[in-house]
């Protein structure tokens, strides 16, 4: 069990991110765990089997994996995680926005991987609502990263109207 930030609070979390080990194929992955976040390849290869498990399931997307691949499957996911291979890799911001704004995904979107305090504000704006802060970092302190700014110019998931449409109001 580990801690994540969820809805701007620190909570105990049971989800387990599953990764394919070297030489392992999607077909051979052990799916007996309770609450798994499986790689996209596993979901695509064993979708029917996973659905019949009738346990909550999550999927995780890597930076080079688009939400297009799961656009028709969103109802099945209790959670979608987006991996940041490095905190400087910004593809995950676009992926989260697309999930929310284009594909209208309403479930939990979790940032996993190299997730650091100083990117949380932008993640929140792009539609993430949970954050598996990198384990060597102080998650309590990281909370402050969600509140770096009190206003923003652009429209995004957290504020669908750009400042210029609200400024005169």
């Amino acid at each position: 069990m580990s801690k994540v930030i969820k809805n701007e609070r620190i909570v105990e979390d049971h989800w387990q991110v599953v990764k394919l080990a070297e030489g392992q194929t999607p077909e051979t992955l052990d799916l007996t765990g309770e609450v798994l976040i499986v790689p996209l390849a596993v979901w695509l290869a064993r979708k029917d089997e996973i659905i019949t498990r009738s346990k909550p399931i999550g999927v995780w997307l890597d930076g080079n994996e688009g939400p297009e691949a799961i656009a028709g499957d969103l109802e099945h996911f209790a959670l979608i995680a987006v991996n940041f291979p490095k905190f400087t890799d910004g593809r995950g911001f676009s992926i989260a926005r697309l999930l929310r704004e284009r594909y209208a995904y309403r479930g939990e979107i979790r940032a996993i991987g190299d997730v650091l305090r100083d990117q949380l504000y932008f993640m929140k704006r792009c539609g993430f609502d949970s954050y598996a802060v990198r384990e060597d970092k102080d998650i309590e302190k990281a909370l402050a990263g969600l509140r770096a700014f009190s206003e923003s110019y652009q429209a995004a998931v957290d504020q669908p109207q750009p400042l210029f449409r609200r400024r005169s109001a």
């Binding site: 905190f87 676009s94 990117q119 792009c126 102080d138 700014f149 110019y153 652009q154 669908p160």
Partner: protein, 573 residues
């Protein structure tokens, strides 16, 4: 110029607080140097050869006199009383202390300034025509577009960690003075056949190690769609631009790999989802911003001023300055003037704290309290009464700000180079200095006429050498400084990348080689030809032959070592 409202100010104040906290956490060991790097870069802070360098944002080059005075004060208090203007119209301080940078940003915030996104893999400072708002050949003032883009790009949540840096330039004039074709995105403000205003969008241009001229990705984009379309374009780049190789990460590589048609198709497909969404720019917002750029209270003046004409007729030095440094203005009786920061012996683009004070005073006294920084690293006062030009010139001259060399050989664009920059392969300022010494006869420099000579200390091309008539690029061969020469580049509507004339030269060979190239031009030119015209007529070969006459020992092809060391450069420090 644009003035902050409460919200703009609050965001910049919060940015200072965020940065102050990040630096404190780094000093406390909570955030590693590697983790801090992109954060400090997005606040303009590099770690350089001799210590930190802070690049301060000057949005589209526009400064108020009070802001320049603040820069002078900061340079005195936190640096060595000198600033350096860059080709992105920003200012660099080369000797700040790491621990004091939060204080500097705090000081800047008191005059509505910052160092946001002056580095890092994000949308950088938007640049434009230094004669915006006053140029007789402009369709409209490009500055409101720049400010709209500044706000859209500032802390954009989706595009703070792009594959690589992203530079946007805007022009609204017949003659492009913002090098828009050498930018990741270039916007040319135009009217379509129906009289509607919008932008012709260029994408995929850039300098660096792979210079590319931008291509038209959309012939006409109505103004209201500017931001949503750029969101779509940046999203395509953010998702599909290469991240595996820093040298292939700019958008130009993606555009070239896909082809402009396919790239345009992908952007359009993305934009279909965003078109007419909330990011659609409202007329009310555009007008709100445009009001900040309303023309100043011009007087009704005759087009010609008799005292001015008399001074030109009687004072040869003044006449030379007027010829090179005074530019047409759309309002009768006014002129825009360029204060040259290319005096002999001065590092191009450098300005002392005292000169900053003088320029601020000149702006207050003669140009409605505002000034602009040019991408050629000079300063423009845009709204000067012609009758004041002689007085202004005398003050400028007394402060080494009136060298009559704008657009001439000695008006060199030059990066700080190996003296300061840790990316550089070679020094650049001493080369500029040596060329200045070689061409110390101003009459001859005037006779040579329009000629751009630009110097970059490495392939990153901060000195814009690719688009110079004569470009000089510092390269490192086995730890030695060498210089590669290109000929035939130019900026503007006919932007072209210069061609390499051959193997590189030693530093001391550069001035005589430049002289040889100019000799070819002087011998071959027809009466009205500029250097670039002669080059286009006679081609590279005559220049090449003259440059290497007597230099056969350097004829061997570029050595492998030269290639290797160019590859070994680090981009971010």
């Amino acid at each position: 110029m644009y003035r902050y409202d409460r919200i703009d100010q609050q965001m910049i104040d919060e940015r200072v607080a965020q940065y102050r906290d990040q630096i404190a956490r780094n000093l406390a060991g909570e955030i590693s140097d590697d983790e801090l790097r992109p954060l400090r870069l997005q606040n303009g802070l590099y770690i350089q050869r001799h210590g930190p360098m802070l690049r301060i944002a000057i949005p589209y080059g526009a400064l108020a006199a009070a802001q320049l005075r603040k820069l002078a004060e900061i340079s005195r208090r936190y640096d060595r009383s000198i600033g350096h203007f860059t080709t992105r119209q920003n200012m660099q301080l080369n000797w700040p202390k790491f621990e004091e940078t939060p204080e500097i940003l705090g000081e800047l915030a008191t005059v509505e300034m910052h160092a946001v996104q002056t580095s890092g893999n994000c949308v950088r400072n938007i640049t434009t025509d230094p004669f915006a708002g006053v140029a007789p050949d402009e369709l409209t003032d490009p500055r409101p577009y720049c400010e709209v883009l500044r706000q859209w790009s500032t802390f954009h949540p989706e595009f703070a960690f792009l594959p690589r840096k992203f530079k946007i330039a805007v022009t609204a004039a017949t003659d492009d003075r913002a090098v828009i074709r050498a930018h990741d995105v270039g916007l040319e403000i135009v009217r379509n056949a129906d009289g509607e205003i919008g932008a012709r969008v260029f994408a995929g241009g850039g300098m660096g190690r792979t210079p590319v001229i931008g291509k038209v990705v959309r012939e006409f984009l109505p103004r209201r769609h500017l931001l949503s379309y750029l969101d779509a374009l940046l999203r395509v780049y953010n998702r599909y631009g290469r991240r595996d190789n820093i040298y292939k990460a700019r958008i130009k590589i993606l555009v070239n790999a896909l082809g402009i048609e396919e790239f345009a198709r992908q952007v359009e497909a993305e934009w279909e989802h965003l078109e007419d969404g909330p990011t659609t720019l409202t007329d009310a917002e555009f007008d709100r911003i445009a009001r900040h750029f309303a023309p100043p209270a011009y007087e009704s003046l005759p087009g010609d001023d008799t005292a001015f004409a008399a001074a030109v007729a009687s004072d040869k030095a003044f006449a030379a300055w007027v010829k090179r440094c005074v530019h047409p203005h759309k309002v009768p009786g006014y002129a825009a003037i360029t204060l040259s920061l290319k005096a002999p012996g001065a590092a191009p683009g450098d300005i002392t704290d005292q000169q900053m004070e003088v320029v601020a005073d000149l702006a207050d006294r003669y140009s409605f309290g505002e000034l602009r920084v040019t991408h050629e690293q000079n300063v423009v006062l845009a709204d000067v009464r012609r009758r004041d030009l002689f007085d202004l010139w005398q003050i400028a001259r007394a402060n080494r700000l009136a060298t009559a060399n704008i657009g001439l050989l000695t008006d060199m664009i030059c990066c700080p180079g190996g003296d300061l920059c840790s990316l550089a392969n070679a020094r650049s300022v001493p080369i500029a200095d040596a060329i200045n010494q070689k061409f110390d006869d101003l009459d001859y420099v005037h006779d040579i006429g329009d000629l751009s000579v630009n110097i970059s200390g490495c392939m990153n091309s901060c000195g814009h050498h690719h688009v110079a008539n004569i470009g000089i690029l510092g390269v490192d061969k086995n730890g030695e400084e060498w210089y590669q020469i290109t000929v035939g580049g130019q900026q503007g509507n006919a932007t072209a990348i210069g061609k390499v004339i051959g193997p590189s030269f030693y530093a001391e060979e550069v001035p005589p080689v430049i002289e040889a190239l100019i000799d070819v031009y002087v011998e071959q030119r027809s009466a009205s030809e500029r250097f670039i015209d002669t080059f286009e007529r006679i081609g590279l070969e005559p220049f090449k032959q003259r440059a290497y006459a007597g230099h056969e020992k350097h004829k061997p092809a570029r050595s492998a070592a030269e290639q290797v060391s160019a590859e070994a450069q680090v981009q971010h420090v």
